[in-house]
């Protein structure tokens, strides 16, 4: 990536064309070649991600129930915020290219700074999400030991710390404990709710339960899970971490190159005649944005 953009920055013999490498005739030719190069590079990026999209499609086609269930673990509002952040950073990046083309140096540096900050915000939100998964044990298949149900509900929330069932961890894939959860957790469950009071569950439990339901209703009330917890839920998290992880690495790489061109911009290297690296880095950043535009509905908005 950086190498592509750097190409135009070579020593040469053309006196008046500061950034024209020796084997090009005109800046236009050099720019067009760089542009074709970066588009080919973006092609390879898209094909790189296509492998993960292929894995996603295959598993979603074969196990739709896994995706419908497991995505409830994700917080779609955080995903939506990140989408807006990235779209905004795309705007500032495209604006930055315009500023570079028009020779507005200060504006360019500011806009690149905002883009960089947006990348930072995105990664921070991502960090919060990953930390959440970490603490809930919902990691990729090899490390998949969930001890909460979707919505961040733990067994202790429901039964209290001293509850009889609290001794055993609550796992979505475990059918025995699942049965205990069916009624209280999911509105649409066919299992009748146990009566409260002396004959049924304790008043404290019911109180906790309604608090928890409120909690759930904030997160996801549109389509609560009604069926049994599906097998192979771990695959969803593998795909989630691979897709967002690879995307996150691309965001970090993008931030690095944005930082680099920001440094160069502050030295006043870009202007109407030479803004190739800004444009090329911008194209890369937009592709990172596009990947997220697809990841967001595919991972967070399943219903």
């Amino acid at each position: 990536m950086t190498t592509v953009a750097q190409e135009s920055h070579e020593p040469h013999e053309h006196g008046n064309e500061e950034h024209l490498a020796h084997h090009w005739d005109t800046p236009k030719q050099q720019f067009d070649a760089g542009k074709l190069g970066i588009w080919l590079f973006l092609t390879t990026e898209i094909l790189l991600f296509s492998g993960l999209f292929c894995a996603y499609s295959v598993y979603r086609a074969n196990h739709p129930e896994v995706f419908e269930y497991a995505h409830l673990y994700l917080n779609k509002w955080l995903g939506a915020v990140n989408t807006i952040v990235l779209i905004f950073s795309s705007l500032t990046m495209a604006w930055g290219v315009r500023a570079a083309q028009l020779g507005q140096k200060k504006l360019l540096v500011t806009l690149l700074g905002i883009t960089l900050a947006c990348g930072g915000v995105f990664m921070c939100v991502k960090f919060v999400e990953y930390k959440d998964k970490w603490s809930h044990g919902t990691l990729w298949a090899g490390e998949y030991h969930p001890h909460v149900l979707p919505g961040g509900v733990t067994k202790a929330d429901v039964f209290g710390p001293g509850g009889a069932a609290a001794a055993t961890p609550t796992l979505p894939n475990a059918p025995a404990t699942q049965k205990a959860f069916d009624g209280p957790i999911f509105e649409g469950s066919t299992v009748a709710r146990a009566p409260a009071g002396p004959a049924g569950l304790s008043a404290a439990w019911v109180e906790k339960e309604s608090a928890r339901e409120e909690h759930l209703s904030v997160r996801d009330t549109e389509r609560p899970w009604t069926g049994p917890v599906p097998k192979n839920t771990q695959i969803f998290f593998s795909i989630y971490f691979l897709m967002t992880g690879l995307h996150g690495l691309h965001v970090l790489a993008g931030m690095a190159v944005i930082g680099w061109i920001m440094l160069r911009a502050s030295r006043g290297e870009f202007g109407p005649k030479y803004f190739n690296p800004v444009d090329f880095v911008g194209l890369y950043w937009h592709v990172v944005d596009i990947v997220w535009i697809f990841l967001f509905p595919l991972l967070y908005l399943i219903h």
Binding site: E10, A33, T44, S50, G51, L52, Y59, W140, A141
Partner: protein
Amino acid sequence: MTTITPDLAHSGGVPVSAGDNYLTHGRGIASWIFTLDHKRIGVMYLVSVLSAFFLGGIFAMVIRTQLINPNGAIFTDQAHFRYYNEMFTLHGAVMIFLVLIPGIPGALGNFVLPIMLGAKDVAFPRLNLGSYYLYVSGALLAILAIVVGGVETGWTFYTPYSVTTDVDKLGLGKHAVEFMVFGVFLLGFSSIFTGMNFIVTMHKLRPPGMTWFRMPLFLWAIYATSIIQVLATPVLGITLLLLIAERTLKVGIFNPAYGGDPVLFQHFFWFYSHPAVYIMILPAMGIMSEVIATFSRKHIFGYKFIALSSIAIAIIGFLVWGHHMFPNGQSTMLATIFSFLTMAVAIPSAIKVWNWLATMYRGSIDLKTPMCYAMGFLFLFAIGGLTGVFLGTLSVDVHLHDTYFVVAHFHYVMFGGTMMGFLAGIHYWWPKITGKMYNETLGRIGCVLVFIGFNLTFFPQFIRARTACRGVMPRTCRSFIRITS
């Protein structure tokens, strides 16, 4: 390969225009390792690729020596058979990833492409050098893999075996497969960057007058190759990254123990690796078009057909990957589709061969060394290509899958095709690269030896396939037992 820096002033007979050329322009090791000159990078590729070829040849010798005796000549007991597997894997991986794929584009393509095109250099000289160093890093990682543990997955790294196999020779942890896989990942990016560079060069650096249909056919072949490199190799990249994640994190995408799908790995892998055989053969076909026209002293016959059949091979080559998976769990429906499409790829290949023969027809053929190799190519590639049609037939392949028949077919195409073409190209451009002429007699003798030796090695393997012998066993098989996968 020691004569890469000849003293041209005393070379005698070779005109040296200004006394200064790319070999003498800068001196010292730094002028080579930091060079941005496509010619020097091409020469560095040539040296590296031929070294890798030598290494891969040693592995092949070990394999053949082992099989000289029905019980195994070198590794004779169960405990040592895994070394045979390692040799087998390394021969495949080194020859495919270090020799066949980067060989012709990296070495000869880099050297002659800008010259044939009339450009001063490739479009991105730094990327070109970076691509070379990615190649070197990938090769070093592969060698590291041998040192720390050894890899016995086969060059295809099929899961789930590649996820579970582990050897730790040095006590540094069981990471040999990761090193190997990451090395191949880097080699893939080296290949991608080379392809990108060539595509942009051919689009943006053609001088006025050099229209698309005036380009030498070698450049058309390289262009088709580059398309495949750019479009297919990223999928290999993600496949290998997933394999590394599979081994280190246990993500389970390809591991049935976690609900994963091992057949999916094969789809991923062959989506790259079938087009990759066209990465290997297309440049050799380009060299054929040059050499045959030159030494028949005729214009090439059917220029446009040869040019466009290169592109056709590149495109159709993407549609046939499933023929590697006929008995491996792929659905019958898709296997039928892929079998049909596989036949289609024979058409543009046959168009090329037909046009080369038509070029030679009534030409004044001069059997110089490159032409000898070209004749060898035509003969061996015809056998390799036609047996490929047998194997593309679904019902036949179910029987012949994983037998010596496939081994023989593959070597007829890859050695008989690509390496014969590579050798023809090296001889053809040797004076251009070094400023010296090779010894014609020795060159011809070499060609005949290669031709006879190759046929003696691989032709019997077609016959052995009658017994449906698997080609991967550490002992030569003595029965008709078919081990189904």
